[in-house]
C-alpha cells in the first residue's frame, strides 16, 4: 500500500475556480453567440472572461449552511415579534407608515431584482459572473420574501399594506420605483448590473439601508430591524459583485470607459431621484430620527463614495456631474416631497401629517439655510387651515416628469421659489421633465421613454377604471372608478390624525397597559 502523499490543500481561490469556471465549456454543436446572444449588443467589449475576479467565494454547500442559519434566527425573531404584538412597542404609530412605504415601494423591487439577476445569471458569457449573478438572484428572492413575511404581521393590524402587489403595479407614486427598476431590467445586461449591482446596491445602498433599518431599530421595530440586518448581510456580497463588475468592464477595454461613465451618470441621477422617497421618510416619517437626510448624504455618499470614485479615477472615471445638483437639492428634497404627499394624501395608501412644533425645530436645526425660509411658512399656514377645520388638499392631478415620473415639485437648483421644467420635442410629440439630467437621459434613448406609462396620463386615457366600466354612463364618477380600480382602501388614505390606525394603536396599546 503506497504511502499516500498528503494532497496539497487547494487554496480558496483555486478550489472555487474548479467549482465554478471549470464547469463551463465552449459549445460546439451550437454557436456560442446563439447560446449567449445578449452580452455584446451594448458595445461593451470583453476580451478575456477569465480575468474575472470572483468577489465572494461561496460554494452552494456553504451557501445553504450559512443562509439557513441566518434564516432560522430571522424567522424565530419575526415569530416572537408577532406573537407578543411587537408592533405595539414601536415609538409611535406614525412610524408604521414607513413600513407601508417599505412594503409598497421597496419589497417588490427585491422581486424585480431577483428576476433581473436571474436574467443575467443566464446571459453573461463568463461562468464566474453568471454564478455570482445566480446567487444574487436567489438572495434577492430571500429579501422579497423575508420582508413580506416580517411585514405580514403589520398588515393584519394596520391599513395600506394589504394591496401592496396591485399598488406597486398601478398606484401613481409607486410607478417611480417601478419604472426606475424596469428601466434597468429592460436595458442590456451590462447596463442592468451597472445600474442595480453598482449604482443602487453599492453607491446608494447605505442611503437606503441606514434610514430604514437603523431607523426601525431606533423606533423599536425589532421585526424590521431583523430582516434588515439579515438581508443587508447579503448586500455585502452584492456590493462586492457590483464593484467587481465595474472594474472588470473598465479593465477589459478603454472603449468601455465612456459607456460605463454614461451609465454611472444616468443611474446615480435616477437612483437619487428614487431616494427622494427615502429622504422624505427619514426627515418626516420617523418619530425618533436616526439622522437627517443631509447627514446621511454626507456620510454615505460624500465620504464613502468619494473614496469609491477616487478608486475609479485610475480608469478615467469621474464623479457623475449630477452630484452638483444633488448637493444643491440636498436641503430641499425631503420638504418638497412631504409637501406633495401631504396635499395628495387623499390618493395614497399611507398617512401623512403636519410636523409638530418640536419636529419643525429639529428640521430648522438640521436645515438652517432652507427650512425656516421656504417650508416652515407653508406648514404653519396649513396647520392654521387644519385648526380652522378647512384642511388644505390638492384637487388637481399633478404634472409628472416623463423620465422619473415624480410629480414636478422640484424647484430650479439655486432658485427655491421657481418650479423647474425642461422641455423636449420628439417625433411630433412633446415631453416635459423635472430637470436637465432627466431630460438628458430621455435624449439618449427617446424610443424607450416615449413608452412610459405616466400614471396621471393613464388615468386620463381611461385605462384605470374597473373592467366593464362605461365612462359615458349617467352620473359616472371618475375619481371613485379609479379608486376602485386601484383597490385604494379609504381608511388607508388621508391624515394620520383621526385615522383608524391611530385609534386602533392607542386602543391596543392601552389594553397592554391597563386592566379593563
Amino acid at each position: 500500500m503506497d504511502i499516500q502523499v498528503a494532497k496539497k490543500k487547494l487554496g480558496l481561490k483555486e478550489r472555487y475556480a474548479l467549482m465554478t469556471r471549470g464547469l463551463g465549456w465552449e459549445t460546439t454543436y451550437q454557436n456560442m453567440d446563439d447560446v449567449f446572444p445578449m452580452d455584446s449588443f451594448e458595445g461593451i467589449r470583453i476580451h478575456d472572461w477569465e480575468a474575472w475576479e470572483d468577489p465572494f467565494r461561496l460554494t452552494m454547500d456553504s451557501y445553504w449552511k450559512y443562509q439557513a442559519e441566518k434564516e432560522r434566527k430571522l424567522y424565530a425573531i419575526v415569530d416572537a415579534f408577532a406573537q407578543n404584538n411587537g408592533h405595539l412597542t414601536v415609538s409611535d404609530a406614525r412610524y408604521i407608515n414607513t413600513v407601508k412605504l417599505f412594503i409598497n415601494a421597496l419589497a417588490p423591487l427585491e422581486y424585480q431584482s431577483h428576476r433581473g439577476f436571474g436574467h443575467l445569471g443566464r446571459q453573461l458569457r463568463g461562468v464566474g459572473p453568471r454564478v455570482a449573478c445566480l446567487m444574487q438572484s436567489l438572495d434577492e428572492l430571500r429579501h422579497a420574501q423575508t420582508q413580506i413575511h416580517a411585514i405580514s404581521n403589520y398588515n393584519r393590524y394596520y391599513n395600506g399594506m394589504a394591496e401592496f402587489r396591485h399598488h406597486f403595479d398601478y398606484m401613481p407614486y409607486l410607478q417611480v420605483p417601478r419604472s426606475f427598476f424596469e428601466d434597468a431590467t429592460a436595458a442590456g445586461p451590462f447596463e442592468f448590473i451597472t445600474a442595480i449591482g453598482f449604482s443602487f446596491e453599492y453607491v446608494l445602498t447605505n442611503l437606503v439601508f441606514v434610514p430604514f433599518i437603523s431607523g426601525a431599530a431606533y423606533n423599536g421595530d425589532m421585526g424590521a430591524m431583523t430582516f434588515g440586518f439579515s438581508a443587508q448581510s447579503d448586500e455585502a456580497r452584492h456590493m462586492t459583485l457590483g464593484l467587481e463588475v465595474i472594474k472588470f468592464m473598465l479593465e477589459q477595454d478603454p472603449a468601455n470607459v465612456p459607456i460605463v461613465q454614461k451609465w454611472l451618470n444616468k443611474w446615480t441621477w435616477r437612483g437619487v431621484r428614487v431616494l427622494t422617497l427615502v429622504a422624505m421618510m427619514q426627515d418626516y416619517m420617523l418619530p425618533k430620527r436616526v439622522m437627517s437626510w443631509a447627514e446621511a448624504w454626507e456620510i454615505y455618499f460624500e465620504e464613502n463614495c468619494g473614496a469609491l470614485f477616487r478608486d475609479l479615477e485610475r480608469y478615467g472615471i469621474v464623479m457623475p456631474p449630477c452630484v452638483e445638483q444633488v448637493r444643491k437639492e440636498r436641503d430641499h428634497l425631503s420638504h418638497m416631497a412631504w409637501s406633495q404627499f401631504y396635499q395628495g394624501r387623499g390618493t395614497n395608501d399611507f398617512h401623512t401629517w403636519l410636523p409638530s412644533a418640536e419636529e419643525m425645530d429639529w428640521l430648522s436645526a438640521k436645515y438652517p439655510e432652507t427650512f425656516d425660509r421656504y417650508y416652515r411658512p407653508r406648514f404653519e399656514y396649513w396647520a392654521k387651515l387644519e385648526a380652522e377645520g378647512k384642511p388644505f388638499e390638492a384637487t388637481g392631478m399633478p404634472m409628472q416628469c416623463q423620465l422619473c415620473q415624480i410629480p414636478m415639485f422640484f424647484t430650479e437648483p439655486g432658485e427655491p421659489l421657481v418650479l423647474a421644467q425642461r422641455h423636449r420635442h420628439h417625433d411630433g410629440e412633446q415631453y416635459h421633465f423635472c430637470s436637465e439630467y432627466c431630460a438628458e437621459i430621455f435624449d439618449d434613448e427617446p424610443e424607450k421613454y416615449i413608452q412610459s406609462k405616466i400614471p396621471v396620463h393613464q388615468i386620463f386615457q381611461g385605462k384605470q377604471f374597473p373592467e366593464g366600466t362605461d365612462p359615458t354612463a349617467e352620473g359616472f364618477n371618475p375619481g371613485a372608478a379609479v379608486g376602485a380600480f386601484l383597490r385604494l382602501d379609504p381608511a388607508s388614505t388621508g391624515n394620520f390624525v383621526g385615522s383608524e390606525d391611530e385609534a386602533n394603536f392607542n386602543m391596543w396599546r392601552g389594553l397592554t397597559r391597563s386592566n379593563d
Binding site: P377, Y381, E447
Partner: protein
Amino acid sequence: MPVNALKPYSFPAEDAEANFHGARLVYVGWDRHLMFATPYAWPLPPDLPFAAMTQGPMADAFSQHPDWAKIDWAAATWTKNGEAFVPDFSASLADNGIIHKDSLRFTTPGLTGIGGLGQ
C-alpha cells in the same frame, strides 16, 4: 442618437393625443405659489374657451389660496413651454394655439403667496 437594442426598436408614443378620447392634455402652474407643490394636469376639450379653463379647472385647484380672489387677469403674465404667451381669454384653447401637452405657467404681479414668501 437612436437606442442601442438587440433588434429593431420602435414603438408608438404612449401619450399621443388620439389616446385621450378627444381631450387635449394641458398643464398649468401658478408661479411663486408653492403651496401648490406642482403644476396640475387636465384633459380638456380643445374648443374650451380659455376663460372657461381659468374659471373651471384652474379655479377648482387654485381658489383655496387667499391670493386667488385678488387676481387681476389683465395684469397676469403667461408662458407656454417656458416662452412668453399672451392668451385670448375669449378664444378656445385650440384657437389660442394650445396643442396637446402644452405646459402653461402664469404669474400674478403683486400677489406673491402666503406672507409674501412665494408659498
